[in-house]
């Protein structure tokens, strides 16, 4: 429950200027592509391309390393566990009682670890280069109702507020002699309840004022509201869209129609 980090960093790169709708669409296409490709070599090429996007978006090193640390942990878990639970094929590399490790199993573990890395990185590129308000704005433009968009953006906006509340309640409980990292699991979960309840009460109180504040600012006054900042598609967005579609369609055709393994 440490402080919440907004991955977005302001910038003026090609990726920052791209319409968030195009970015969301591109990320979805790339996600499908990553799930479709099964060759490790092709995945590695794709990963190199995605790494290029990260560089293009000029994400600061601190945020990239924060993101990578998390991805790396998941990758290591997959590489270790996958061969144990998926031992089909030959040759067998090792047997340890009922556990059998095979070479194809190890390969599949590595491939899937790289795949997860690709998936995570693609979404990180979106997060690194798109402010949350633009993501929400894009969703509303793509047909999500404004109420839902607003709810989502309020939820995102209040994450840091609530993590700050939790921290200050924990501090208050610690000052009364409560120790969060000691004692039996039962004791510990009881300690957490003493944080949970004040947090919920504080959240409810915030929600109460919030709804009064929303109404006081004419929320729902008219059926059609206007927007200060409209999203605009530009020629460069069209190009990006074409590139992404081509990048998805070509391997798809190769795989499903020409039966070329990709």
């Amino acid at each position: 429950m440490t402080g919440f980090v907004d991955l977005y960093t302001e910038g003026d790169t090609v990726l920052h200027r791209m319409d968030p709708r195009v970015k969301i669409f591109a990320v979805l296409m790339l996600t499908l592509l990553i799930l479709m490709i099964s060759s490790l070599v092709h995945l590695l090429i794709l990963l190199a391309f995605i790494a290029l996007l990260v560089a293009l978006g000029r994400a600061p090193f601190s945020k990239v390393s924060l993101a990578l640390r998390f991805v790396l942990r998941v990758m290591i878990m997959i590489v270790i566990l996958w061969p144990i639970f998926d031992p089909s094929g030959t040759p067998v590399l090792a047997t340890l009682g009922p556990v059998r490790i095979t070479e194809p199993g190890v390969m599949r573990g590595i491939t899937n670890a790289v795949r997860i890395c690709c998936l995570a990185t693609v979404w990180y590129v979106l997060m690194f280069t798109t402010p949350q308000r633009d993501l929400v704005r894009a969703l509303v433009k793509l047909g999500v109702r404004f109420d839902f968009g607003l709810t989502l953006s309020i939820a995102l906006r209040f994450l840091p507020t609530f993590s700050a509340t939790v921290e200050s309640i924990k501090d208050a409980q610690r000052a009364r002699g409560m120790e969060f990292d000691k004692g039996s699991p039962l004791r510990r979960s009881r300690n957490y309840i003493s944080v949970l309840i004040p947090t919920i009460i504080s959240a409810l109180r915030t929600a109460d004022t919030l709804s009064l504040a929303l109404q006081s600012r004419a929320y729902g006054a008219r059926r059609h509201r206007t927007y200060l900042r409209e999203l605009k598609m530009r020629a460069s967005d069209g190009v990006a869209l074409a590139v992404v579609v081509a990048a998805f369609v070509m391997p798809a055709v190769a795989k499903f129609f020409l039966k070329v393994p990709v």
Partner: protein, 292 residues
Amino acid sequence: MDPGIALSLRDVRFRHRNAKGWALDDVSLQVRRGQFVSVLGANGAGKSTLCMLVNGLVPHTVPGDLEGVVEVFGADVAEDSVAKLSSRVGMVFQEPESQLFCMTVEEEVAFGPENLGVPADEIKGRVEWALELVGMAGYNDRSPFSLSGGQKQRVAIAAALSMRPDILVLDEPAYALDPIGRVELYKVLRELKEKHGMTVLLAERDAEEASLYSDHIVLMENGKVAAQGPPKEVLADPERLVSLGISPPQMSEVASLLRSRLRSPDIDFTRVEDAERTIIERVLPAGRGAAR
């Protein structure tokens, strides 16, 4: 209907649903256009209930029994919707944290006019104007969460002003602020009054700034109006204020002290300069006399 009257309450009583007592009990008051009126009272005196009555949150959203007449620019609050009233009545709440809900300051200030369907070009102008007025120009892309308490409250004021309200209602806006935040906030309110002639209704439990800026002051106790009138009259007796749970202005405390020490009931001031003059003219000679 007198067009010079912004807000008028006549024999108003309000009881919250499921509450035993009246939160407002027989309250009558008037705010004229361009006036700065302060409502002073302790915990539970009914300040918030009164503020929310002005933009219709009471009784439309916060339910209960309402008696008497509340008119905002001649329109009966009970018959209008909050959404409709909110474009005429700007509202600023006590807690800085929970009344700002957007990702950036700019969106926050644009939110009201967007809901009212104001064209984008005009919203842009209003946002710049409002942020400039509260001293937050250039903060457009900052997250409200990252601001200090005083800055948050000023953004909340800008967010209300961008709807171009005819009256601004502030419910203990300085409650959660440190002394610096408080000074910054009142600087903005003073400018609103003096340069823009904004009509203001302010709820407070500390009479310090209210004593300087108000044209009219209402003292409340347990939902009732304990006294109302010009600041000089209403705030003259600091002990009375303390008994009502209100922090008296420091200058009036000094004046009251001098009155009783020098046994001169005519001593009266609210500004530091007047206090200085009184002390030079009357306290120092008296002291010299005593020393001789």
